[in-house]
Symmetry: D2
Subunit: 185 residues, 4 copies
């Protein structure tokens, strides 16, 4: 079972990348083959129908599509920008939706977020769901939002709060079980 | 495999009930044991914390909860009211969320809608997703919105448009396969 | 200038009612004529097209409509239920939308929320906006979400946190100015 | 009274640009000073916190901010991408939100959309509202979604459907009246 994990943030020191790293480690322990991607690998311009008509789908979008195609499931760890989906992540989804059939169809998807605020990015995940559902992803009923994320990680990069850590373990255990058993495509 | 199907509308001649009937017939053909419920069976008052404190969970909510518990998956066919979730359906979800653990956790869920408009209730389903995800349901990446629903049914209660009918067949086939294979709980 | 204020909760000891009381007091000081309503005054059944066909618009809905019609602006203080609009409040909006023209058209509206959580009901307000916009209300760019609301009120019913109190003062001052100057209908 | 109008699409032949042109003409007739901008004037990279730390706010974002600051009101005509806000438009909002105080605070905003589909982009506007409200804009209760937009314009660039044209006239007339009378800042 192969799972693609990436954070929807370009910033190098993003707390979302740190959480994506934690999740990757846990999925590895659970026996999954983890493809941990840096969102910077999927470099693409702002969506512009004229660019698409002239040059086709950008290489970075094609790279994202092929990594999704190779995976059985996806984990997206996304910040919340202004109560919504980060522009760069939505831009990647918009480009991706120009490929038919959508490479996302029938893949299982787990969402997580991290933010310095007390909300932990939960509103961004709510805003993200409709677009991902539209793309044919099966969204986990679980999702994990890490509040006060600037204080949440210990020196080894793990979560300070053992209760939260166990909660995340339980969610990922269920996610791997469903991915392993479901024939969604 | 047992699947609970109901329309989130109280009206007897609701096009959503008609679509729920079509879906139930198709799930039956696909080999599922269908529990087709009338939303009127889940009679409950408007949510009021004082009523809950005095009288506990209403019988209609408990009935809905036990029907969900007995099912492996759920199909909700919901109208769209004012760009959002119908008040009565949201009210049922709000009451349901007072039962711990949520009876919905880990169940697979397929959403459909029907409306006389050209949109077919698709905005209502978007608004419905966050609450259902919060309740731990695994939402299908597919959803089916029937536009111009007042003209969509033939005399036998089936769909007039054979392309739409085939599309729905494909979605339900995938839904049954996932429900049959996934161990979400 | 007349402003209708109500909390979208039926419970007597609701923190949203407490916040609605605080807001009413402040609007009174700002010179507005405040119509403070208890949501229980707008008693109505769950929306059912068959009830509407048989009995017309319920008395409680008509009462809400006439109170809105008499007002220049509206303040709704709403809890968040399961990431969404409380069922009873959405139900009232759904019934209200059966009156043509909508009594809400062109009224200015300020949204607030209160909740024991750290989020303070902000997600419920996000879910509430589309339906209210659909009803023709002009939604204030400001909104006020009171987190940890169970600890937020002092013995006199005011807000403990003087910074939050000042922020709310500023929002309501702007709200009253716009309502006084705008000719939205 | 000065009103900034732009379409949230980069494509030259965008139906949203055509609708923005129609709206600009109508606002001009209504006596407003129209600043019609091409979204390409606001050139900026995908949001990246590291770029911001190194180079500050991009020139295109600053240009957008100063155009907003100079205006009393804003009209955004936005396509819908995958049930949501177009990535490039959300990206511009995300950059804009890094300027304090937000240049958008207290401005009146009217939303419109155009799309070849029967929905006319209405779902995109729903998704757009939370972020704009968060930025302190006062959102009009009206919004205008143009369905089947590929067939909606006549040779002179006006709307074929005279009923829709009158509806839009009425909405913009109200928008100009409110903008002229409201003191939102």
């Amino acid at each position: 079972m192969r799972i693609l994990v990436f954070a929807g943030s370009l910033r190098k020191e993003s707390v979302n990348k740190k959480l994506a790293t934690v999740i990757s480690g846990k999925l590895d322990v659970l026996g999954a083959e983890v493809d941990f991607a840096d969102f910077r690998e999927f470099d693409m311009p702002l969506y512009d129908g004229d660019i698409e008509a002239a040059d086709g789908i950008p290489a970075g979008t094609q790279e994202l599509a092929s990594r999704i195609t190779a995976a059985d499931a996806i984990v997206i760890v996304s910040p919340e920008y202004n109560y919504g989906v980060p522009g760069p992540l939505k831009n990647a989804i918009d480009w991706l939706s120009r490929i038919r059939p959508y490479p996302t169809i029938g893949k299982i998807c787990f969402l997580a977020s991290a933010a310095p605020s007390m909300v932990g990015g939960a509103r961004g995940l709510i805003a993200l769901r409709p677009a991902l559902s539209f793309m044919g992803l099966w969204l986990s009923g679980d999702s994990f939002s890490l509040a006060q994320a600037n204080k949440a990680f210990n020196e080894d990069g793990g979560l300070n709060d053992s209760d939260l850590d166990k909660m995340l373990d339980g969610m990922l255990d269920r996610f791997v079980k469903v991915t392993g058993s479901a024939q969604t495509t």
